[in-house]
Every structure is written in structure tokens, then in C-alpha cells.
Symmetry: C2
Subunit: 533 residues, 2 copies
């Protein structure tokens, strides 16, 4: 009996140990996958679920209805490169260096003659996740520097398929066309092997295998299937660029959008692919282990007029520090983990995805630097709000505005430079707000412009000190303290976007020899970059 | 055997007869109920489902997710009385008479010194439904004339609870406060027995029984329960006015909206009540027999500034013929009849509800007059689109614009009169579009302004004859023909809103004796009404 009892006891211990072992293994295998869908120049108002009358994002709308919409969510910059750098580093561009101080308050990015890129001293999200056991892949646009030190495979990605810069067309002589990479090497160039037809706004991929955006989708589906099978966690960072001007779509989407523009066609193609990804996750039973986040790098580029998206209901667009430049969709999908069909009024930024993903992966934040990143896990999983969250609105090196709670305070405002307006470039078409939406930079530091962006998200009705003295003084009072503390503590990163040089362009990317596509590199001529925006 | 066969045959015949009998009875009892929720000055962009960042219409959003959103839906006029007259008559104000021709292109309505109201020659929806076996009730604002001939109980409603005019405050001496009726007689007046506190923006009902909007909800719930039990069809026309300036809410909603305004509080209260109505329908198993439609009488009154709703993404607001004045929410809910979770791009107007309800009730349209009404049943039930649908945008007696398909052509445009602008009254705050959104009426008939409102719903980018000659000529060509035909066939109704008279105000409404609240009626002095808008 006692022997038997002992045996039983042993059995129990074994079971407990086995259970603990299973639990540990289980925990380990249950590290969530992350899929970060970062759209390009798509506006807050472009989604059916955000009121777009065309209602032609059914799959993304479905994603939101099955997940959460964080409606007060911001980018870190009103244009591409600094926005993307901040999301992956968890730090403002003014800290991570993806800005220029050639002139005050000017937006800079990474055209192909830029010398710099994301600093090696910055620790990027994919680097930390990879160290923590994640497999990582970038699909689509990178935009954090195209020279060798900035190559995505050197910055934490196991795999890459996509382009380092925007798909503008070049003549191949005064400037090379932008290469498309598969992992280490280029496989062709836009407008050459990888056509973008600017008359039909359609594309094809090298050797006619597939069209470019379709291929970005196929790469994603293949990656999810392949990595999903391993049971090990992955991070897929998906960056289609077809909605960025000049917009293009694959042939079967051409002319299919109700909007009837290349932009609209590009958006419905992206929507279709997002739907396919979610379907695949469900079919492969990965949906409970995968957090999918959809956002956009900045507000819609209203400068593209009828070929732009919409930031409705927000003021102005890309390049500005009004809500239309910064407020961005933030859709979170994680069945059975994030409650379905909810909206959250948690104020957040794309930089918060850094802390959030690390938190969910059980990985620590580096402690050697200042972060602009909080974990959104409590808001996503439990509906707990962090009311202390602050959002800074930088235009280049200029701190233009700050939001905390319901109030947003503008220290500086700017529309579009006068010389650009004359050329038809306008980031705030049809808007007239004297001294606020203006062609010159206006310094409001002495008497900041205050908006209650919960009540007045359209930034139509400034709260004047004369009209609402108590509200104005209280809100401006604490927002000024927030700014003061921020500026006291701030150690600006070395600006990476000050110098341009034609010699650094994509003349001879790695792999060009195999393709017989190495172009002669001109003499180096470093200049101070001109940033008019 | 043969006898048995005969017996069986008889049984079959009996069964068929019984089945037919059941089917007929069933059909008769299955005439749908109609609940028409007509909100007041609520804008297209005020709903979570239309992208409002505050996302505080969860019950209406749920209604949409369970039903259909018709995203190209319009009112018949950019303000209250003519809009409501058109919805109930199925005819444009220019036909039904609810307009003024004192001056060209001016919006008129039914203040309490108006002499006229909806003409007795107009056949109203509730009159036809009642003749067809429906029980009918109006709850809330009427706004089609407050003098005896225009009383809702004389115009097809079995029951009424509500007010004939807007709840503006009067001093009771130079003008009486607006009465609230229960059926035939007044039961009190706003700001007197029925308080609206303009400091706290809260209300109470006479004798403290309930607060006003709450009572409008209780009346609706009681009516649905009571009439639902009879198995006979009903038509409930529900018109809360708390979102119309000066906005007010019941105490438990005060300060509860994220927007933090009386308007926001009023809206969340209405949302809550709408939810209760849908819950009641489900609990009483009436949901498969009841079509619920939610819409708003015109665009948000941007003139109320921070106390207004929002028409985002549309241009301008109430009083204008831009999309912000006319485009209105159109949410249709009818579980198991209208497919859930769909949007329809059917172009429609509130006047179409007239033909739609009659169609669904199996009742014929009167054949003695011209209607501006098509049945939306094919779009709602089968997704079939009527692409020939035309929308006319009248401002008073002026045909300002027309839409067919994706194109909208403006013949006249107008913002706000200069003298109103100087007083801070602006229907297009912060908008600047030379010659289009302007302080004087601009006649574009010679070269109309053309917008592609599918591509550019915000009316930002006029299609110029020089830029897109083929599109411009084609679209303007057929739209001009549409206008030509419309104007050839048009027989304007006698304008009902030309004359005003202090003697017709609500001095001594029926029932005032019982309340000891009959005020002395001043001498009649008929004047030409002044319509500045």
C-alpha cells in the first residue's frame, strides 16, 4: 500500500512536473506573432469604418469589427521616413536622429541622394524581437536609409523583399531608378524590370511572375504559412507603397474602385490582401497567437488632390502638425485576446507599438536611453486608460504642438511655404484660418493656440484666453509644463538628414553585377540638403 | 383503395387550402411596422460608424452593423421644415409648397409667426398608411405648421406627443413659449412647466414625471409595446429635438459625452434610447416585422460652432446646398430581411422613404401628381441599384445643384450672406473657395461647377472644362438635360411660407383653458416674412 502510495505520489509529482513543463513550453510557443501593416499616405477617413462614403475597405472594416479601433492614435512625424524610424525605435525623430536642422521646422526624409539613415546606435524593434527568439521579415518599403550600413538585413530583419526608397521615376542617367531587393541583393529596378506604367497606373514584376503589390501580398502569405508552421514566433512588417503617389494597382483592381482613381484602386487592392492575410491566419489556426496592427505612416497627402486619400474629419494633411498630418488609423486584431468590436480612447502613438510588442513578448525595454513609448497592453486587453500619455507634434526639429488628455496646444503653426503655394502645392486645400493655417511659420509661444480635440477634433474653434479664461489658463498651464520638462530633458540625436550627395544614389546596389545593372557612380559632391516642406 | 386515395386527395386539397389560408393570414399580419427615427441637425460624421473619433453612438453603430448604411443619401432641403414636409409627402418642397419665394434661394421654415403649413392638398405618408390599416403616431417635433389646420392629428396621425415648433426660448409676452401637445391638446410649454435650463442644459417634464427626451423615449417604448401586442401594423415617426440648438440632455447624460458639450450629451441620450427601442423590438419578437430607419433632417448646424455636430467629410453645413447641408445618415435595420453589415451606394433621398414604405406595405402610390420618390426596396432587399436616380438640391425656391450618378453640378452656390458673416454666422466655417463658397449668391449656369462626388465627396476639386473637357462636357451635358426636363415639367406648389403674423403664434393653443395658460392674442398684422438664409 505504502509503496503504491509512493508510486501514486511519484505519479502526481511527475504529472505536476509534466504539467509545469507543458505550461512552460506552451508559454514559450504562445509568444504572439506580430504583423504590423503600415500603409503609405492612407488617411484616417479612407476606411469604411471611419466613414468613407465609398465604403470600399470591407476586409479592413471587418478586421476592425473583430478587433479594436484606437481613435486617438498618432504618428511621430507627418511624413514617411521619420515616422517609420520612430515606430521602429520607440523614440521621437528628434532623439533618434531621423531629422534635419538645416532650417527650423522643415520635414526631411530619405530621398536617394541622402547620405544618412537610421543611426547604428538606435536599437530597433525587430533587433530586440529577433534576439528574443523571433524570426523577422520586412516586406515593402524601408525608407530609413538605402546605403550599405542601413540595409534592413543589417538592422534586425532575417528577410526583406522590397524597395529602400519611394517609387518615384528617374531617368536612369541623372539619377538611377529605385532598386527592389530580395534579401541582400537587388533583383531589379522600378520602371525597368519592375514596371510601373504611369499611364495605366498598373505594374508588373520582373519576368512577369506577378504584379508588384500582388507579390508583396504573396510574400506575406508565404511567410505567414512558412513561419506559422514552425510554431516559433515571427514579426512581419508589411509596407506596401502603392497608395503613395504616383499610385498604382495591379491590373485586376484597375478602375474597380468606386472612387475611380489610381489611389482608390491601390487601396482596394491593399484591402483585399489584408483580408487574405487574416483569412490565412484563421485557416492556419494562428489567429489566437497573432496580433495584427494596421496603421499608416502619416496623413493623406492632400497635395495630390483628387489622387489623394482623405483625412476627414481632420484639418490639413501630410507635412503638417494639424490632426490631418498626425492622426492615423490604429486597428488592432487579436481574436479572443483583444475584445471584438471596441473602440478605445487611449491616446497613443506608433512609438507605443515598440513597448507594446516587447511587453507582449515578455522582453524588457532597454534601460540606457529615453523612450517615447508606453505599452498599450492594458488598453488593448483590459480597457485601462493611461491618461498621462503625451503626444508631441514635431515638424523636423521644431516642436510645433503637444497633446495631453483632451487638449492640444500649438506653439507653432504652418501651412505650406508661399513659394510652394504658388506652384499649386498645398497641404491644407480650401482651408482659411488666419494666422493658424498660414504660408509663413507662426510662433504662438507667447499665447499658444488651444484646441479641445475631443470636442473639436477638426481644430475649427480655438479656445481663446478671453473666451474661456479658466479652461485656457489651466490647460495651457499644464501643457507648458509638459513642454518645459520635455525640452529640459531632451538630448537631441545627431541629425541624420542634413547632407545630400549624388554619389550615394542607387547607382550600383549589391547584386547589380549579376543583373548587369550597375550604373557608373558620379563624383561625390556633398551638399546641404534643401528641405522646403 | 380508391376510396382511400380519394380521402388522401381530399386531405391534400384541405392541406393546400389550409396552407393558402395560413399564408394569406400570415401575409396580412406580416405587413411590416415602420419606425422612422428622424434626428435633428445631426451630421453625417457624428456617428462612430461614420468615423467620429469620439465613437459614442454604440447603439446606433450596432444598428448599422446589423443593417444597411446607404451612404449617398440626401435630405430634400438643408433645413428642418421643408426637409420634413418632403419626407412625408414624397415631393420636393418646390412642389409641396413648403418654401417661400419672397426672395430667390432663401431657406424658409415654420417659426411660430408663420401663417402657413403643409397644404391640405398634399397626401402625407401617414395618411396613406393609416388608410391601409396602419396605426400611426408622431412623437416629438412636427414643424409643418402649428395652426389648427396643420395639427398632426388632422394629418394622419392617431396619436401625437411633442411640440409643433423648435424649442427656442421666448419671454411669454412679446412671443409665447412653444407648447407641448399630447394628442389634441397642449399639456404645457417649454421653459415653463416643461423646463429647459439653459445654464445646465437639462430638462424636466411637467410635474417632474420625467425629463423631456426621456419621455419621448418612454412614449416610443410604450407605443411599440402596446401596438406590437395587437399584431396590427404601426408607423412610429420619432423626432427628438434635443440635438437642435439650444441642445439639452436629461440629467444622467449631462457631462457624460466625451465631446463634453450639451450637443454631445444630447446625442448619447438619443443613442441610448434608440438602443432601447431595438432591444424592445427583439424582446417582443417584432424585429423581423419592423423596418427601422434612422436619418437626420439636415446637415449639422455648423453655425453653432463647438455646440454643433459634424458633417465630416462633407463641405459646409445646414442651410447650404453643398454635401454638408444635404448628405444625411440613412441606416436601415430589419433583421433577416435586410442583409446585415452592408453598405449600399444607391443614391437616394428621404423622399424615397415615401414610395419605399408604401411598396413594403403593398399600398399603391397616388397617381394624380408628380412624385420625387422611388422605392428603395430593390436596393435594400436585393442590392439592386437604380442608377437613374436624380437628386435636386434646392435652397428655397432656387434650384442650386443636381446629382446623378457620380457627378454633382452646381448651378448656383452660396455660403452665408455678408451681413450674417459679420455677425459671426457662418455655414462654412474656415472654408475658402473663391466664387464657390461665397457671401453672395453666384450664378454658375453658364459654366456650372462640376464635382465627382464619388471620387471627391468633400467637393474640393471642381472638374474644370479646361482640365477634363470630355468628362466635363459629357457630365454637364446630361445633367443640364436632367435640369431642363425637371424645369419644363415642374408645376411649383403655392408657397406656404411667404407670410408671417404675430397673431398666429402659440398664444392660445387647444387645451390652454384647462391649464389656465391662454395668452391674449394680439391684433393680426400680416407681413412678408424675412428669410435671410
Amino acid at each position: 500500500m505504502s509503496f503504491k502510495r509512493q508510486n501514486n505520489y511519484r505519479g502526481l509529482v511527475t504529472s505536476v512536473i509534466f504539467f509545469l513543463f507543458c505550461f512552460c513550453v506552451n508559454s514559450a510557443t504562445k509568444l504572439p506573432n506580430f504583423i504590423l501593416l503600415n500603409l503609405d499616405d492612407v488617411g484616417w477617413g479612407d476606411f469604411g469604418v471611419h466613414g468613407n462614403p465609398a465604403r470600399e475597405t470591407p476586409r479592413i472594416d471587418q478586421m476592425v469589427s473583430e478587433g479594436m479601433d484606437m481613435t486617438s492614435f498618432y504618428t511621430a512625424a507627418p511624413l514617411c521616413s521619420p515616422s517609420r524610424a520612430a515606430m521602429l525605435s520607440g523614440r521621437l525623430p528628434i532623439r533618434n536622429g531621423l531629422y534635419s536642422d538645416n532650417a527650423f521646422g522643415r520635414n526631411a526624409y530619405t530621398p536617394q541622394d541622402i547620405v544618412g539613415g537610421i543611426a547604428s546606435s538606435e536599437i530597433l524593434l525587430q533587433e530586440l524581437l529577433r534576439k528574443g527568439g523571433y524570426h523577422t521579415k520586412l516586406i515593402g518599403k524601408w525608407h530609413l536609409g538605402h546605403r550599405a550600413p542601413y540595409h534592413p538585413l543589417k538592422r534586425g530583419f532575417n528577410e526583406w523583399y522590397g524597395a529602400p526608397n519611394v517609387h518615384f521615376q528617374y531617368d536612369g542617367t541623372t539619377a538611377p531608378n529605385i532598386p527592389v531587393y530580395k534579401d541582400q541583393n537587388m533583383i531589379g529596378r522600378f520602371y525597368e524590370g519592375i514596371a510601373i506604367n504611369l499611364t495605366t497606373n498598373t505594374t508588373n514584376l520582373i519576368a512577369g511572375i506577378s504584379e508588384y503589390t500582388q507579390h508583396l501580398g504573396e510574400e506575406a502569405l508565404e511567410y505567414i504559412s512558412r513561419r506559422g508552421r514552425t510554431g516559433k514566433p515571427f514579426f512581419l512588417y508589411w509596407n506596401p507603397d502603392s497608395t503613395h503617389a504616383p499610385s498604382y494597382a495591379s491590373a485586376r483592381f484597375r478602375g474597380r474602385s468606386q472612387r475611380g482613381t489610381a489611389y482608390g484602386d491601390a487601396l482596394i487592392e491593399v484591402d483585399d490582401i489584408v483580408g487574405k492575410m487574416l483569412d490565412l491566419l484563421v485557416n492556419h489556426k494562428l489567429e489566437n497567437d497573432t496580433l495584427v496592427v494596421l496603421t499608416s505612416d502619416n496623413g493623406a497627402a492632400l497635395v495630390s488632390k483628387r489622387e489623394a486619400g482623405t483625412n476627414a474629419p481632420f484639418l490639413c494633411g501630410k507635412q503638417t502638425t494639424f490632426e490631418g498630418g498626425f492622426r492615423t488609423p490604429a486597428f488592432f486584431w487579436w481574436p479572443n485576446k483583444i475584445p471584438a468590436g471596441n473602440a478605445s480612447s487611449q491616446v497613443g502613438t506608433q512609438m507605443d507599438l515598440f513597448a507594446t510588442f516587447l511587453d507582449l513578448a515578455g522582453l524588457p525595454m532597454p534601460r540606457d536611453r529615453v523612450y517615447d513609448s508606453i505599452s498599450l497592453k492594458p488598453a488593448l486587453m483590459n480597457g485601462d486608460l493611461d491618461l498621462e500619455k503625451v503626444v508631441f507634434f514635431y515638424r523636423g526639429n521644431g516642436l510645433f504642438a503637444v497633446r495631453k488628455g483632451r487638449f492640444k496646444m500649438h506653439l507653432w503653426t504652418w501651412r505650406t511655404p508661399q513659394e510652394e503655394l504658388k506652384r499649386g502645392i498645398d497641404y491644407c486645400p480650401n482651408i482659411h484660418m488666419d494666422g493658424i493655417v498660414s504660408a509663413t511659420q507662426v510662433n504662438h509661444t507667447a499665447e499658444p493656440i488651444l484646441f479641445d480635440v475631443d470636442n473639436d477634433p477638426e481644430e475649427r474653434y480655438p479656445i481663446r484666453p478671453g473666451n474661456s479664461p479658466t479652461i485656457y489658463e489651466t490647460a495651457v498651464g499644464y501643457l507648458k509644463k509638459v513642454v518645459e520638462k520635455h525640452q529640459q530633458d531632451l538630448v537631441p540625436g545627431k541629425p541624420a538628414l542634413n547632407y545630400c550627395d549624388p554619389a550615394v544614389e542607387n547607382w550600383a546596389p549589391p547584386g547589380c553585377e549579376d543583373l548587369d545593372d550597375c550604373l557608373p557612380i558620379p563624383a561625390s559632391k556633398v551638399v546641404i540638403c534643401d528641405w522646403p516642406h
